[in-house]
């Protein structure tokens, strides 16, 4: 692409604007020092600074005007930015004049404060234009791009709307930044259905039913180093995302219908079902908020007993404790876990000799998300003390003597996702009852068999 000289000047704007901001701010600072008399700043220095700052401000205004005429930006925001920018240049000029005339009256002070405010407002507007309005605030949100719309998790993908629930979130995450309300690169907006169909300055971006011919598809499958690759400067969309967009366009790029109204090839079916799964993704086995470091002495005391107590990852203070090398631990030794209750999230006590009296200590470790008690002496009595573990997601009771009655006492654990009850006292007729009482929990009864097939032991031989 050949750039014309004016276009080139326009593109200098985002770099040039930093000069007046910096120079004028230094000017204001020096001027403040000068008036307070704390530092000996010569007025002639301030004069030079303001001359340079004012000149740069006007140059920025001109380049900015050229850039805005390219039309890549949202006109409302650009207008505000332009007038504010001109106001900055004007105010700076006035201050410069006052300095030359050596009139440091109250008007002079008001202008200075005004300039400071104007620079900040103009700078912020400019930033919103280039980086998107939610650029700074999105750092505080878990998922960038939520400024537009938070998409509820998909529970039944068949009932989900193809555009609003499947496709739009993809566009929002990877396209809106340059083709949204803030900026319209190539005069393209993708945040509402009519703009998508209208296309950009080179024409339409998608042709319903004709995915391979649609510009949108062509661009997203280009390699990252191609200059037409989209999203520009970012890694390609995932395989599954590209396939879903392709499917959406091939089925007519509909904006209202539900997933179930379309035919789904096997591959697409898989990707759609995956959306359903990934919605449960948010709650992880590790709490999102950081925690202070655990008491070293307690950890060392446990280590002396052969217990492995280590953080779950580098840069994390959350702990896991593994008793695999200390199976003959006594119930009362578990009191050592209590001081770690804020940090301890994974606890492996499988195959140890602990019994019911240990659960009063375990029950106090309320941050636990994963607890393994397989083949221990825990029975129904002990389970009652575990009701306090509200964050528990996975509980392994394989090979213990607990019964359905005892397990029912854990009904209060709303986060529980996996419950392993293989080789326990739970009777054959209890499973349906448990399933009803634990609607959100996957209860594994175990006892699987792999039936014998006659062919298993037959060896095939070559025929004659």
């Amino acid at each position: 692409m050949v750039l014309s000289v004016t276009e080139f000047l326009g593109r200098l704007h985002p770099a040039l604007v930093h000069l007046p901001i910096g120079i004028l701010l230094i000017g204001l600072l020096f001027q403040w020092f000068y008036q307070r008399g704390t530092y000996a700043v010569s007025l002639s220095v301030i004069k030079i600074i303001f001359l340079a700052g004012t000149a740069c401000a006007w140059i920025s205004c001109i380049t900015g005007y050229i850039l805005s005429s390219s039309g890549d930006y949202e006109s409302g925001l650009v207008n505000w930015h332009m007038w504010m920018g001109i106001a900055v240049a004007l105010t700076a000029s006035l201050i410069f004049r006052k300095i030359i005339l050596q009139k440091t009256d109250s008007w002079y002070k008001a202008l200075s404060i005004g300039l400071l405010i104007l620079i900040m407002v103009t700078g912020h507007l400019g930033g919103s234009l280039t980086h998107g309005a939610d650029y700074i605030s999105s750092a505080f949100k878990s998922d960038s791009g939520t400024a537009y719309k938070i998409h509820p998790p998909i529970i039944h993908v068949e009932e989900a709307r193809v555009y609003a629930d499947v496709i739009q979130p993809l566009f929002q995450k990877d396209c809106y930044n340059c083709h949204g309300s803030g900026r319209q690169k190539g005069k393209l907006r993708m945040d509402d259905s009519s703009s998508i169909m209208k296309g950009g300055k080179d024409g339409s971006i998608l042709i319903p039913f004709k995915a391979p011919e649609s510009e949108l598809m062509k661009r997203i499958i280009l390699p990252t180093d191609d200059e037409h690759h989209m999203p520009k400067g970012k890694p390609s969309l995932k395989e599954s995302q590209i396939a879903l967009i392709n499917w959406w366009i091939s089925t007519g790029a509909d904006f209202h219908k539900k997933v179930k109204e379309f035919e789904q090839p096997t591959r697409i079916r898989g990707y759609l079902l995956a959306l359903e799964n990934s919605s449960n993704h948010a709650d992880s086995m590790v709490p999102p908020s950081p925690v202070e470091e655990a008491d070293r002495k307690t950890i060392n005391a446990l280590k002396e007993k052969g217990v492995e107590v280590i953080p779950v990852a580098q840069n994390s203070h959350y702990l896991m404790a593994d008793f695999i090398n200390s199976v003959s631990i006594h119930d009362k030794d578990l009191a050592l876990l209590v001081p770690l209750r804020k940090q301890l999230i994974w606890l492996k006590l499988g195959n140890t000799k602990i019994g019911d009296s240990s659960t009063i200590y375990i029950g106090q470790c309320t941050e636990l998300t994963q607890l393994q008690l397989e083949r221990t002496g825990i029975s129904n009595t002990g389970l009652a003390s575990l009701q306090s573990l509200h964050k528990l997601q996975s509980l392994n009771l394989v090979g213990t003597s607990v019964t359905a009655q005892g397990v029912l006492s854990l009904k209060t654990l709303k986060q529980l996702k996996h419950l392993y009850l293989y080789q326990t006292g739970v009777g054959d007729k209890d499973w349906t009852m448990l399933a009803v009482n634990f609607p959100k929990t996957q209860i594994d009864s175990g006892g699987y068999t792999v039936s014998f097939i006659a062919a298993d032991t037959v060896v095939v031989k070559a025929g004659k």
């Binding site: 995932k238 395989e239 599954s240 396939a243 096997t266 591959r267 079916r269 898989g270 079902l273 995956a274 799964n277 990934s278 993704h281 992880s284 086995m285 590790v286 492995e308 280590i310 953080p311 779950v312 990852a313 580098q314 994390s316 959350y318 593994d322 695999i324 090398n325 393994q372 397989e374 996975s394 392994n396 394989v398 996996h418 392993y420 293989y422 594994d444 009864s445 175990g446 006892g447 699987y448 068999t449 792999v450 014998f452 097939i453 062919a455 298993d456 032991t457 037959v458 060896v459 095939v460 031989k461 070559a462």
Partner: protein, 503 residues
């Protein structure tokens, strides 16, 4: 020892030689690195010598406790891995990748477009196309295609995630196996199990962190290098255990040597090694000390763990084990036991999947079926058994070969092979994973109508390795080890985590 023996000139000679052996070129240069030039040389030499963890990997190598549990970079979904390698490379076209269109081409000459610019291990001239030699069906809720060759596995298809478009660039067994396990087709780099144990240590301090079990009558073609430790400290190499006889060779103390005496002798050897360490500061000596101690503990723990006879009868029935034979089913049951005891990485190699069709044992309709029957029940049982014990959540199971097989029938040296078989093929094959935070009942990647090349969801061995490390809690790019002057990693300069298959 008598004075006379001590004076024995042979002993003196040996002692002298031993001293000489320490005065290797490396030690000599290191110790003479006093002047400016030598100092610079010394810094070059450190990079030839024993390496160190790269500073940003966050892995601390403690030579005195090399297998102590260590922290992953981020909380990993998987705590351990069971890697089932079907050495010889099973045919994706007879197991998972159903291609009805290939049936239509059965017996026709292979079009030139598929042969142009390609090299095959044995196919010469123009081979004939060969349709699928198995009946396929969609299985479970996910509708994954699994052939009748695997009737048991078909029932658990909803538990696994298929990678249908894995590719490689090596069409011979040994380099391809090395590539998939060590990240390079050449010898000398650490295997994925060694990396995993180096990064995470091991939970059980009485067992090795990385155990290798083989079946099928032969070692994999690449030999023991596929479970080697490469430039990582040797303590991380896979410990090969046997499912018959002594689980580890020479694990029993010799006759007449009781446990106290054994302990005393190991203590003596370690004392000598400690002295050597003080003198030479070589971390490998500390590794050796810890290995002696581990070996001593293993004398008790290993025969106990490796003994599958204490498993109840219904477990043996489930896995289809065979008493006192080295077979895949026994190894699968052992793998579950080992992971249950806190072993980090268990690698199973089953030899005999190289279905060229040169004889009945390598025929797609004879040998392959027999190999499937030897492993199908055990693989299925392993998945279900891990699941019911609550271990599948934290255990990543990987199944695969080193490459795929051609849609063409092999014509070795231009002549039709006597049995139906397929040649080595690098452009497409299937690997599946289960548990360890991988999506269930999911299929990733697709091959073309005849299963010849990947058309979407292409995954290289590096991508598979990056994904395995990711599930264990490591960023494969930052997980490095300083060697030969640069940080080295399993995936070297490639690999992307396959995000799409992560639950």
């Amino acid at each position: 020892m008598t004075q006379k023996e001590l004076n024995n000139p042979r002993l003196i000679k040996e002692a002298n030689e031993r001293i000489m052996r320490h005065l290797t070129r490396r030690h000599f240069l290191k110790e003479s690195a006093m002047g400016m030039g030598a100092l610079a040389l010394g810094s070059f030499l450190t990079s030839c010598g024993t390496g160190t963890a790269a500073p940003d990997s966050g892995i601390v190598f403690d030579p005195a406790h090399p297998l102590a549990p260590k922290l992953p970079m981020f909380p990993g979904k998987a705590k351990s891995v069971i890697y089932l390698h079907m050495a010889g490379a099973p045919s994706h076209l007879e197991l998972f990748d159903y291609k009805p269109d290939l049936m239509k081409l059965n017996g026709q000459d292979c079009p030139q477009s598929l042969l142009k610019g390609k090299r095959f291990a044995f196919i010469r001239g123009v081979p004939k196309m060969l349709g699928p030699q198995a009946r396929f069906e969609q299985r479970g809720q996910s509708g994954a295609w699994v052939s009748d060759n695997l009737p048991h596995f078909a029932t658990v298809a909803d538990e696994v995630c298929f990678l249908k478009a894995v590719t490689t660039d090596q069409f011979n067994h040994a380099p391809a196996q090395l590539l998939i396990h060590t990240g390079t087709p050449r010898l000398g780099r650490p295997s994925i199990g060694a990396w995993a144990t180096y990064g995470l240590g091991s939970e059980n301090q009485n067992l090795p962190g990385f155990v290798v079990l083989t079946s099928g009558g032969h070692f994999p073609d690449a030999g023991k290098s596929v479970w080697g430790s490469g430039f990582l400290p040797s303590v991380y190499q896979g410990v090969q255990c046997r499912s018959t006889g002594d689980p580890v060779l020479f694990i029993k103390s010799p006759d007449g040597l009781d446990r106290d005496m054994r302990k005393a002798s190991i203590d003596a050897i370690n004392a000598v090694n400690q002295q050597e360490y003080k003198e030479y500061n070589d971390p490998e000596i500390m590794s050796r000390i810890s290995q002696y101690e581990l070996a001593y503990r293993m004398q008790i723990s290993v025969p106990d763990t490796m003994n599958i006879n204490d498993e109840p009868e219904y477990m043996h029935e489930m896995y289809g084990t065979k008493p006192n034979v080295a077979c895949f089913a026994n190894n699968a049951l052992l793998a579950r036991k080992l992971v249950e005891k806190g072993v980090r990485f268990v690698q199973l190699f089953d030899w005999g999947w190289d279905d060229h069709g040169t004889d009945a044992d390598t025929a797609l309709d004879i040998g392959l079926i027999n190999k499937c029957r030897q492993t199908d029940k055990a693989v299925t049982a392993l998945l279900l058994d891990l699941k019911q014990r609550g271990m599948l959540e934290e255990t990543l199971v990987v199944w695969g070969g080193e490459f795929g097989r051609t849609p063409m029938m092999e014509n070795r040296d231009g002549k039709q092979n006597p049995f139906k078989g397929r040649d080595h093929h690098v452009d497409a094959f299937t690997i599946w994973m289960a548990g360890g935070g991988i999506k269930k009942g999911y299929t990733y990647g697709e091959t073309d109508e005849i299963g010849y090349s990947a058309i979407s969801g292409k995954a290289t061995p590096f991508d598979v390795q990056a994904t395995i490390l990711n599930q264990l809690g490591f960023d494969h790019i930052k997980f490095t080890y300083e060697y030969q002057g640069r940080p080295c990693r399993l995936t070297d300069v490639s690999g992307t985590v396959i995000d799409d298959i992560i639950a």
